[in-house]
């Protein structure tokens, strides 16, 4: 394992120290418990939008803390959900009197820990709601399984709900918006090569020299199947078609296309894939009105990518375009 780290057990704290140093104007970083809070929190009378999850997916979530997006992020250990006390601390530090919305990616650990936190918060008389995002179409959904995973759509959800909260939308409205976005966003990813969890010391999975994993999860969980590496012109539809067919997205739809890198994929490949995806969507009569290209929901140094497609309407376009000022997304301010 080759990494620029000291001790695997202090990676998250060490990285948070760097974030604190780099973004002192935007963030307040607390280490015990680990919570990254927007510098001007709590914002009076604004719904606090809070997320969190295992570390190793940077900039998700701490990189999205700031005006117009998250009020706080709770970074767990690498690939491990945060604990309830982190979430409770985040709620306490950001609650401006309008309650808090917790955005949770659908993994058993995240759901259970945020659920516990929400119970504890409610017991303290705080108004807290929880939404669970499960946008990954790679795994089959059923009442008898853990359900679909939350992946790249989380970034879009955090941006849109963050914009609404910034405009003064109340807790009911934010929750409703969040559920509506979750209903309109779908994703799928692939991996060319695994990342390595620092404390594990070995790659999370192994792939043959010419093999890729279609439907990879952001913790290296397997997806639909392993297939031979193919040219981008074939890989892109192999990812995009299941995404489009799931909702489904059809001719006439207006969408946001998010081409996401998994951490170890160079931008040149992401743009290349993005170009093909735009062409395929145009061929289907789907209008790409907004786009995001970059490594925003990552899996350490995993090589791979994902597509996320969100069905837009005028309101969502407006919320997407609304000012945002965070370490990783910034416009309009």
């Amino acid at each position: 394992m080759k990494k620029i780290i000291n001790d695997p057990s202090t990676v998250v704290a060490d990285a948070l120290r760097g974030m604190a140093a780099a973004h002192g104007d935007l963030l307040d970083v607390h280490l015990d418990p680990a919570v990254v809070v927007r510098a001007d929190a709590p914002v009076p009378r604004k719904v606090a939008v809070i997320s969190g999850g295992g570390s190793g997916h940077e900039p998700l979530h701490a990189g999205f803390v700031g005006r117009g997006m998250l009020d706080a992020a709770c970074p767990g250990p690498v690939f491990t959900s945060p604990t309830p006390d982190q979430v409770l601390e985040a709620v306490t530090r950001t609650d401006g009197g309008a309650g808090a919305l917790l955005i949770v990616k659908n993994y058993t650990g995240d759901v259970l820990n945020f659920e516990t936190a929400a119970e504890l918060a409610a017991a303290e008389g705080l108004a807290v709601r929880t939404v669970v995002i499960d946008d990954d179409v790679a795994v089959t959904d059923s009442a008898h399984t853990a359900g679909r995973r939350g992946v790249g759509g989380t970034v879009l959800l955090e941006k849109l709900v963050g914009a609404a909260a910034e405009r003064g939308v109340d807790l009911d409205g934010c929750e409703e918006l969040a559920r509506s976005v979750i209903g309109r966003v779908r994703s799928m990813g692939l991996a060319l090569a695994p990342g390595t969890v620092p404390h594990a010391g070995e790659p999370s999975f192994t792939l043959g020299d010419d093999e890729i994993e279609l439907g990879i999860g952001i913790h290296g969980e397997p997806g639909r199947r392993r297939v031979p590496l193919r040219p981008a012109d074939e890989l892109v539809p192999a990812l995009l078609d299941p995404v489009l067919e799931d909702l489904p997205f059809t001719a006439g739809d207006r969408v946001l296309l998010f081409t996401n890198g998994m951490g170890g994929t160079p931008l040149i490949e992401l743009y290349l894939a993005h170009g093909i995806a735009e062409r395929l969507l145009a061929e289907r009569g789907v209008t790409v009105e907004r786009r995001l290209v970059g490594s925003y929901t990552t899996s350490l140094e995993m090589q791979g990518m994902s597509f996320t497609v969100l069905k837009l309407d005028d309101d969502l376009v407006e919320l997407w375009d609304a000012p945002v000022r965070t370490p990783a997304l910034r416009w309009g301010v």
């Binding site: 767990g76 259970l112 399984t145």
Partner: protein
């Protein structure tokens, strides 16, 4: 020998040692069908429990279990954190402020722990989770407790059944937790949480002897 607060503390310290010893094994099991952090998560949690115990000495078994519960909840994370945390919390509630645990109390605590895990995680036997180890452990504990044996015997029975239950997860296809994403590919591997349950019960049995 009775089973008071000191013995419960000793059992938790023994558990921490066992978790440290099996940290890599649990990581390896979890890497095969999960995300490779289970050993790390538990190691972080039980180390924290030991630190807490070093700093304060609750007076009753229930208070010790509660301290362990809140510490696990606030340090383990992942699926295992709230599940084990809830288990210890329910066990603490079940034993109330009894100064010493007897066989019946221990069996009752295990039953409460299982119910807590099921309430949180909604898993049933056969889903390839810690429930597959804990369920037979509870049944075995209740069976021997009825016979009027001591705490050590109850825990020994529980540990034996848990180990068997944990081993039974190997051929199963996971339906809960991260391993469920693997579908058929999860078969052929022990469930890490079931295995850690078995290890924990074995260490309690050792610590209480």
């Amino acid at each position: 020998m009775g089973c008071g607060a000191d013995e419960v503390v000793a059992a938790l310290r023994a558990a921490a040692v066992v978790v440290a010893e099996h940290r890599e094994e649990l990581v390896r099991l979890d890497r095969a069908i999960g995300d490779g952090d289970h050993g790390e998560n538990l190691h972080r949690g039980f180390s924290a429990v030991v630190s807490k115990l070093d700093g304060s000495a609750p007076a009753t078994p229930g208070a010790v279990l509660k301290l362990a519960a809140t510490t696990l909840i606030s340090t383990v994370g992942g699926a295992a954190g709230p599940l084990y945390g809830t288990a210890f919390l329910r066990a603490a509630t079940a034993v109330g402020d009894a100064p010493e645990l007897d066989a019946a109390l221990v069996a009752g605590a295990l039953r409460a722990a299982l119910e807590g895990v099921v309430a949180r995680g909604k898993a049933v036997v056969g889903d390839k989770t810690m429930v597959d180890a804990l369920t037979p452990a509870v049944t075995a504990a209740e069976d021997v407790a009825e016979g009027g044996v001591d705490v050590a015997a109850v825990l020994a029975a529980a540990a034996g059944a848990a180990e068997e239950g944990a081993r039974s997860t190997e051929p199963l296809v996971a339906r809960k937790g991260r391993a469920s994403y693997l579908g058929e590919r999860s078969a052929g591997h022990l469930d890490p949480g079931a295995w850690s349950t078995s290890l924990l019960l074995r260490s309690f049995a050792g610590g209480a002897r």
